[in-house]
């Protein structure tokens, strides 16, 4: 199985390659990709250098253009696609049907991957994407169990890539407007979720409140670490009870299931985290690379090391395990 690694900066890109990535995915410094954060991503020139660095070292570069084109401004996405193709991207990772159709028509030779943001969660959906756009690979949404993935793989003709480590979307990706409901900015339209521009921390007596737009997302007592107010990982009241209504501040880790994923026919394992620093990327990638080339019985210490790098040092297998539902 290939290891697909994130790079939010050229430095992280080199770290990922040197640490053993088979492919690195990245995006341009604008709204054309779903990690449109300040100080992150690549200029055209940086991408050119990154692709060349990958080529020299025999690694692939995937370019994520996985937001949805704003009506009237499609040219921004078309230009990004054109530049990525001309710079030699090994694959474009797309979510918008309109953009997929455009890429297919203009660049018939370009390899096309379907982003998790397209929300292709079943064989019929994937076959549609293969038939309509000749998609070669689909990144599955984090709504499926490993058994579901195995069943899907048997019925489709393209490769399957899944997220195995890093941030965890609780909602079906690409189908969530919670962020824009609170802030006006969404993953689909702006490439951001619960953006820092709308985050505020406020002290109230001994409590620390985290707010997103007009809404309180969490409250922390003295000694409690005040986490980032990602909307779906907030604490809320339902009836008389308070708690994490959707999911705890926790991250995804299914590296304990490498053998089951291999048996399910998964082609590529993806690490989330283009917003992470280069040290994190280097550490996670090298640990996962080592885990993949280690006998299952001997992986324990490596997987424990990974856990220490997770959000709040707590992880879940999420939807990959049926009980999560």
């Amino acid at each position: 199985m290939e290891l697909i690694c994130p790079a939010g900066t050229p430095a992280a890109f080199r770290q990922a390659v040197d640490a053993g990535a088979d492919a690195v995915y990245c995006g341009f410094r604008d709204e054309t990709n779903a990690r449109n954060f300040p100080g992150l991503n690549f200029s055209r020139e940086e991408l050119r250098e990154a692709i060349a660095y990958g080529r020299r070292n025999d690694y692939q570069t995937f370019v994520a253009l996985n937001t949805f084109m704003r009506a009237g401004d499609e040219e921004i996405w078309y230009r990004a696609a054109s530049d990525a193709v001309n710079l030699g991207a090994d694959a474009l990772i797309l979510a918008d049907f309109g953009l997929m159709a455009h890429v297919r028509e203009r660049y018939p030779e370009q390899r096309l991957h379907v982003s998790v943001q397209a929300s292709a969660s079943n064989p019929e959906a994937i076959n549609f994407l293969v038939e309509a756009f000749e998609a070669k690979r689909v990144v599955l949404p984090r709504t499926l169990t490993i058994a579901d993935i195995a069943r899907i793989k048997r019925k489709v003709s393209c490769e399957i890539e899944i997220f195995v480590f890093g941030g965890l979307c609780v909602m079906a990706e690409g189908r969530c407007s919670l962020s824009s409901y609170a802030t006006g900015k969404s993953p689909n339209m702006n490439g951001v979720c619960s953006p820092a521009s709308h985050v505020r921390y406020r002290k109230e007596g001994t409590l620390m409140l985290s707010e997103l737009g007009e809404f309180t997302i969490n409250k922390f007592g003295p000694g409690e670490a005040a986490g980032y107010p990602t909307l779906c990982k907030g604490r809320f009241d339902i009836g008389d009870a308070s708690g994490y209504a959707f999911e705890d501040p926790i991250s995804l880790d299914v590296m304990g299931e490498i053998e089951a994923l291999k048996a399910a026919g998964v082609s590529a394992l993806k690490i989330e985290g283009r917003q992470r620093g280069k040290a994190y990327v280097a550490e996670v990638v090298s640990t996962l690379r080592e885990a993949l080339s280690t006998e299952p019985a001997a992986r324990g210490p490596l997987l424990a090391r990974l856990k220490a790098m997770s959000e709040g040092q707590r992880t879940t297998a999420g939807a990959y395990e049926k009980r999560w539902r």
């Binding site: 009506a71 019929e124 689909n188 339902i238």
Partner: protein, 305 residues
Amino acid sequence: MTDLTMGPIYYLWDGPKWRDFYLRIADEAPVDRVVLGETVCSKRQHFIEPHLVEVVERLERAGKTVVFSSLALVTLERESRIIRDLIDNSDHQIEVNDLSAIGLIKGRRHLIGPLVNVYNSATARLLAQRGAERICLPPELPFTSVSQIAADGTPVTLEVFGFGRIPLAISARCAHARSKGKTKDNCQFVCGEEPDGLSLKTLERQSFLVLNGVQTMSHTCQALLLELEEIRNAGIRSLRLSPQDCDMVGVAKIFREALDGLIDPQSALHQLGAIYPMVPFSNGFHHAKEGAAWIARAKSAASAR
């Protein structure tokens, strides 16, 4: 002429309540089209089945176009089969809410629901080529995009989400069941206890969202009444009313009268508030603001561009 579509009921209502709702819609609501069927959770399907034939027949007798809604999230083999059966066996038009149905329905006339990501006319055009005749655009879409898609002359009838709590997200996990100590697989249909959604508040007790099974919806109710004129002028030919647990016949009458110029938008809004009093209105998405916001004085979005 702008027509009205009654969208599918997203909530779990028990069989008799569901039946009575539609019989009254058939007899009294000035809507042109009614989209029927479970859209949110495949486990709920059996609640409405005993009443389906009667409801369809009554709606059609009243001159309404009946459309069947497909599931929004398809992950299980059983759910794939439901979509396949719906498309193979239905003699009614189908409203598509996920990619599997888009794939399977190719070449047949159909509708696209608001849960499919149509953000631009390139996508609308592609769907039209595959047989889509009508697209209800995603609620998140600002009016600048709506009017641009309309102006691009895509050969489909465009609809916008005019009234209702906004469907914001869907998950493999059931937060509704989870809040009552259950899981999705062992839920005992506890979402049926809240026919208008289970209120989720911030820790400051501010109403924020409602849970509806695996779906998360807005606490506020989107109401595009002050915006009707610009919507119509942009060439949008249809408005969607999404059923809430309130007098939807009354809601439909207000929208019809406002569209026909029989009442002015402000009075229409006032009347709407009396019908659905506990829930604040929002129109922020339309104005490219927070979806929860209420923009009282609608500045022309087209000129702000």
